[in-house]
């Protein structure tokens, strides 16, 4: 009964018909209740399906489809659930060497959405991750706040003398930050933001390395390996 109550409130909020006093409780529940997130996502799919322009309907055959279950797939749920859907990719499943050093291609791939990762993103750790990425994007000071002047000269990066905490090599420049907490990630993730990249790399000792700037994936991996040593 209680379940039905929150579900009905979700339906009303979806329609913009929930009393303001009840919105907080629904949003709070929604932030941690995956089944409710899924339901919201399915409401959205339902609306889209019912209002879709028939002229645009066309079957699409994609190769190697892993999950033919469309209605209850988590893809959109997670894809839409957090800002982290900016773009992310799992380094374990994507072999960048196949793309060569082409930054454009790497960036393009970063726009892929992996459904397994999407589920992870939708986990309880999402809020920490969202907060972190938003700070990286929105607060320039954040990336300079715990820089420890790590020597990266052996991978060709020098610290910018004028702008401390910024590393430079040719056209590449970035700032880094180390977190003592792991932010709930256990695989490398990266996002594209404008013309910059955000890399989050879990290190062996439990810390997380954040790299933000004009940096290609190969350089990011090398830097992470140096710091991880």
């Amino acid at each position: 009964m209680k379940n039905n109550d929150i579900n009905e409130k979700l339906s009303a909020l979806y329609d913009g018909e929930l009393d303001e006093s009840e919105i907080n409780s629904v949003l709070d529940t929604l932030s941690s209740d995956k089944s409710l997130q899924k339901k919201l996502s399915n409401y959205a799919l339902m609306s889209s399906a019912l209002n879709i322009n028939e002229g645009n309907i066309q079957p699409i055959k994609s190769k190697n489809r892993l999950n033919p279950n469309f209605w209850l797939s988590n893809g959109i749920t997670a894809a839409a659930s957090v800002l982290l859907t900016i773009a992310f990719v799992n380094f374990d499943t994507i072999n960048f060497s196949r793309l060569g050093p082409d930054n454009e291609a790497a960036n393009r791939l970063s726009l892929a959405i992996n459904s397994k990762e999407a589920k992870d993103i939708a986990s309880l750790s999402q809020e920490n991750l969202v907060d972190h990425v938003l700070k990286v994007i929105n607060n320039p000071e954040f990336m300079s706040s715990n820089n420890s002047d790590i020597d990266l000269r052996n991978v060709g990066f020098n610290i910018n003398g004028q702008t401390s905490s910024q590393y430079i090599k040719g056209n590449e420049s970035f700032r880094l930050r180390l977190e003592k907490k792991n932010l709930g990630i256990n695989k490398v993730r990266y996002w594209k933001h404008g013309n910059k990249m955000i890399y989050l790399v879990p290190l062996a000792d439990g810390r997380v390395l954040t790299l933000y700037g004009n940096l290609n994936s190969e350089s990011a991996i090398k830097i992470a390996q140096v710091i991880d040593q």
């Binding site: 018909e17 959205a44 399906a49 959109i76 659930s81 773009a87 799992n90």
Partner: protein, 191 residues
């Protein structure tokens, strides 16, 4: 508590403008499929549509302070999406991307996730759902379609159907639950 298309999201928008990511996530979840579908209609490309939908919501988040409610929220989001799509199509990067990405990469991209929207566009599935909606009890069907297809507020539906607003809310919810259950069964049958 009259609502209309222009202000049905106003409470959530107001919260998002104050930095409430929960409210923004709600809005993003609500409109992601429609944004994606609009972009797909424009680009005819699955991966470009995903790319642009994501960029759209980044931009929406960054610009949400500038939304003044002069139009429906989705209209505003839609304009951002289509402008991004237009710029994307004419940009040299777009062409360069198309050339540079190996077929392996694209295939991997496709294989790495399922996209409900592409499946959603299978007309047979749509027809099945629509048929099911038509088979709903009349009171549920009427409330649901007035809301979903005609975009009427609960109050307007209440007046049309001569039913208390609370009953309208309950009927719409029950209709949605029924449709979701049908979708789930359809999905199971497909496996």
């Amino acid at each position: 508590m009259k609502k209309n298309n222009l202000d049905e999201d106003s409470l959530l928008i107001h919260r998002a403008q104050k930095g409430d990511t929960g409210a923004f996530n709600f809005l993003m979840t609500k409109y992601y499929p429609r944004v994606y579908a609009s972009l797909f209609a424009f680009t005819k490309s699955k991966e470009d549509s995903e790319d642009l939908a994501q960029q759209t919501f980044i931009k929406v988040w960054k610009k949400i302070d500038s939304f003044r409610g002069d139009s429906a929220f989705f209209t505003w989001v839609y304009r951002i999406a289509i402008n991004l799509a237009k710029n994307h199509v004419v940009s040299s990067n777009y062409k360069k991307d198309k050339i540079n990405i190996s077929s392996d990469a694209i295939e991997m991209d496709f294989a790495s996730h399922a996209n409900p929207e592409t499946d959603l566009m299978h007309s047979q599935s749509l027809n099945n759902v629509r048929s099911f909606i038509n088979s709903l009890p009349e009171n549920l069907r009427t409330a649901f379609t007035l809301r979903e297809s005609d975009g009427l507020s609960y109050e307007e539906i209440s007046l049309i159907t001569d039913t208390p607003i609370g009953t309208v809310r309950s009927r719409i919810f029950r209709a949605r639950e029924s449709v979701l259950e049908f979708m789930s069964q359809e999905s199971t049958n497909e496996k």
